[in-house]
Amino acid sequence: SQQGEEDPQALSIQEGENATMNCSYKTSINNLQWYRQNSGRGLVHLILIRSNEREKHSGRLRVTLDTSKKSSSLLITASRAADTASYFCATAPDSGYSTLTFGKGTMLLVSP
C-alpha cells in the first residue's frame, strides 16, 4: 500500500518561480527521501531527511519534515525548465529493515 501521498498531483509554474510539493505519510519513519524522475525512467535521489531533523538544504532544494503531522515539503527555489520532472517522496520505516515506500508523485512543469 502507498505510504507517502504527494500533493499536488501536478504543478505548472514559470521559470524563476518557486515550486512547493507536499508529502504526507501514515506510519512512523526512520527517514524520508525525495527523488526526481525524468521521462518515466530511472529515479535520481535528491535529498534524505532523518526523523530527528526538521529542515535540510541542498542547493536550490529545501526539505522540511514535521513528524507530528507526518508530513514533509520539498521547495525548489528559482525553478528552471530543466526541473521539469516527476517528484516522489519515499519513506523508510523506523524499525527493522525494509525497503522504501513511494508515493504516486507530483508532476512539475516549468515553462520558460
Partner: protein, 117 residues
Amino acid sequence: GAGVSQSPSNKVTEKGKDVELRCDPISGHTALYWYRQSLGQGLEFLIYFQGNSAPDKSGLPSDRFSAERTGGSVSTLTIQRTQQEDSAVYLCASSPHSSGGAYNEQFFGPGTRLTVL
C-alpha cells in the same frame, strides 16, 4: 564508476511467454531492489535482496514472478506466462547499506519497459 544498468531497455512480448529482466547493480552495493511502475503511478515494491538472499519478497504480485541474485551482484527478475497487466516499467535499484536496506539513498537503473501484447 558505472551506475546501475538494466537490460533490455525495452521488451515486447506476447501474452503467455516468459521474460527475464536483468539488473547489474553498482559494484560493492549489497542491497538490491526491484520495483514496478505502471503508467502515471508511483513505484510498487517487488523484492529486496541483501547479498544473495531475499529477506523481503512480499511485493511479488503472484507466483508467476520470481527473482534471484548471484554472486552478490547481478539479479534477474523472471515473469512466467506474462499477462497484459504485467506491462509496466521495471526498475532496479541498489544501495551500499549492509545492515538496513532503507536507511540510505537508492541508486536506480534506467528501467526496462515491458509491453505484453
